[in-house]
């Protein structure tokens, strides 16, 4: 007895809405990292400890979207979504767009996503740890406490109110203006 044989060719681009959401968030986060590096001492310190041309990318298989951030002449810059624009020292690869959506809609924190094997790290572990610390701080600035506590492993409740307020204003302003 035969069966209906369906030969289906499935292409990337099947999850447009989620891909757009992820792309927007990555764009915003990239600019926010650039901003936070100017505003926050800890993030600045982390970047200073990294090599001069250090660049990392965060994005999703198989074809993105991607966020490329790195150092150029001592300054931290968001380089857009092109993986070929620079030499990349570290890639944080999310296995598929569904997982990216889970992470960037804060249903799973970065730590939780790692423990659920949603991410792969391509590059040296010390760099990955630095980048995770940076991302955590950026998320604390960008998100209200109730969401940020889900996104990071330990919400820094010991930060002064001044640091959070000034930092948040600084990060948002610079992110939106792109400076």
């Amino acid at each position: 007895m035969g069966g209906l044989i369906i030969m289906k060719e499935v292409h990337a681009g099947g999850k447009l809405l989620k891909k757009v959401y992820v792309a927007i968030f990555l764009w915003f986060t990239g600019r926010a990292i650039q901003a936070t590096a100017k505003v926050d001492k800890e993030v600045k310190k982390e970047f200073d400890a990294l090599p001069d041309d250090f660049t990392f990318a965060l994005g999703c298989l198989p074809n993105g979207p991607w966020m490329v951030v790195g150092k150029e002449k001592g300054k931290v810059k968001y380089f857009g979504g092109d993986l070929n624009s620079r030499k990349i020292h570290l890639r944080l690869v999310i296995k598929n767009i569904e997982a990216a959506f889970l992470i960037l809609s804060f249903q799973e924190s970065t730590a939780l996503a790692t423990t659920r094997n949603r991410l792969m790290t391509d590059g040296e572990v010390p760099y990955a740890l630095s980048v995770i610390r940076i991302l955590d701080i950026v998320e604390v600035y960008l998100l209200p406490k109730i969401i940020a506590s889900l996104a990071v492993k330990r919400y820094p409740s010991w930060w002064s109110f001044g640091r959070k307020l000034a930092g948040r204003i600084g990060v948002y302003t610079r992110t939106l203006l792109g400076i």
Binding site: T114, T115, R116, V125, P126, L129, P156
Partner: protein, 415 residues
């Protein structure tokens, strides 16, 4: 039993255990279509007569393609390439690794080279780079243990370029792991104690770390039970066959657990201590284990409390009030270190200030602790630790572990 929202678990290694498990190797190799293995080991293992035992067990069943005992204490790319050449020159068709962590890593590295015909091993160290089955690999651990006979990781050092290559892939898992009581019989008490606590740290950290899952939990519980029951007796009576086999199985279970659930602060600080001061890994684990539990207590005390029953048995569990069970686990582990210290005549250290090298010199001077705390920031095990760690907290734990005083938990920042 908690079912996580998502988890993954894999241990493809065939485990063959027993007092005469080695004799089963020829048949196991035949099942994999092999009859000419290369034996990879180190001088220590060979000197202890263990390789002879293996060779005797194999003699009629296979043709031994070569015996290489030049694996250094730290894996080395040069040696990997040299052994791969030996494999090819002697037309071998399988690898038998007899030894501890470094031998296992080297064997896995050799396997990559000969299976992928690799000229540049580095090319295979990225994520997803290894996805084709390798040549048959039989792992025979001689400690109980590192668990590297069931891990999917290999670390190979390139001493010329001063870089460490990390390989992660399920294809690196040995096809078979042989747990034979004869292989750990010659371990002197000091090494038995140290490697046993290493195994315990795998089981315990695997149980509370963030990537824990139901299957890794079951392996951890069984491991904790066996290790707590047998470690002291086997350290005291090295020729206890049943105890040796139980420890080998316990260490294997612990290896399977942590290979799937990862490890945390104990390994994070332990790796750093080993890197900065050269302290053997097992000692670092033994010293830091109670502190790792104390550090994470506010985050996963209930989970830690679940280790009491397999560790101490029904009587202790029943008579310990629920709120005190986690602390009881910590004190039991401290007691283990105390007992092992007594049995080994003081060689098994209870805290870092006690750790001495062969000449009696202190291996962890107090003023080196800041450097260790800093180095720990570069080690990935922190990702899976339930609580975040920063430099100050690393130093806090290290200071307490140096002095041998309980951790002052009030100083841990709580989010």
């Amino acid at each position: 039993m908690i079912l996580p929202d998502y988890y993954e678990f894999c241990c493809r290694v065939k485990i063959v255990a027993g007092h005469d498990a080695l004799e089963k190797i020829p048949a196991l190799l035949a099942e994999m279509g092999s009859k000419k293995p290369l034996i990879i080991t180190d001088k220590g293992v060979a000197a202890a007569g263990l390789v002879d035992i293996v060779v005797n067990a194999l003699k009629d069943g296979v043709t031994i393609g070569g015996i290489a005992d030049n694996v250094p204490p730290d894996s080395d790319l040069k040696v990997v390439n040299q052994l791969a050449g030996l494999y090819r020159d002697n037309a071998c068709d399988a690898i038998i690794a007899v030894g501890g962590g470094s031998v296992m890593d080297t064997a896995k590295g050799v396997n990559i080279v000969v299976s992928e015909n690799a000229t540049d091993l580095m090319a295979f160290s990225g994520a997803g780079a290894l996805n084709r089955r390798l040549k048959p690999l039989v792992a025979i651990p001689t400690t109980a243990g590192t668990g590297s006979e069931v891990t999917l990781v290999a670390v190979i050092k390139d001493h010329e370029k001063h870089q460490k290559m990390l390989f992660t892939s399920y294809v690196l898992l040995p096809n078979v792991s042989i747990l034979d009581s004869r292989m750990t019989m010659t371990m002197p008490p000091f090494i038995t104690a140290m490697t046993g606590m290493d195994a315990l740290s795998h089981a315990v950290e695997g149980y509370y770390c963030l990537q824990k899952n139901p299957l890794s939990d079951a392996h951890s519980l069984a491991a904790v039970n066996m290790i707590h029951q047998y470690l002291s007796t086997v350290t005291q009576n090295p020729s206890d066959k049943e105890g040796r086999l139980a420890m080998a199985v316990g260490a294997c279970l612990a290896g399977i657990s942590f290979s799937n659930s990862m490890v945390g602060i104990v390994h994070n600080l332990g790796h750093a201590t080993g890197a900065v001061c050269g302290v053997p890994h097992g000692i670092c684990m033994a010293v830091l284990l109670p502190y790792g539990l104390e550090y994470n207590m506010h985050k996963c005390g209930d989970t830690i409390a679940e280790l009491l029953l397999p560790m101490a048995g029904e009587e202790v569990y029943r008579t310990t009030p629920k709120a005190e069970r986690a602390d009881k686990v910590v004190s039991l582990i401290r007691q283990m270190n105390q007992d092992l210290n007594a049995i080994t005549g003081g060689r098994h250290a209870r805290y870092f200030s006690e750790v001495k090298d062969r000449d009696g010199k202190q291996m962890v001077p107090r003023d080196v602790l800041p450097a260790i705390a800093k180095a720990a920031l570069l080690d990935g095990a922190t990702i899976y630790n339930p609580e975040d760690q920063d430099y100050e907290e690393n130093l806090l734990v290290l200071e307490a572990a140096w002095e041998g005083k309980p951790l002052d938990r009030s100083k841990i920042k709580k989010g």
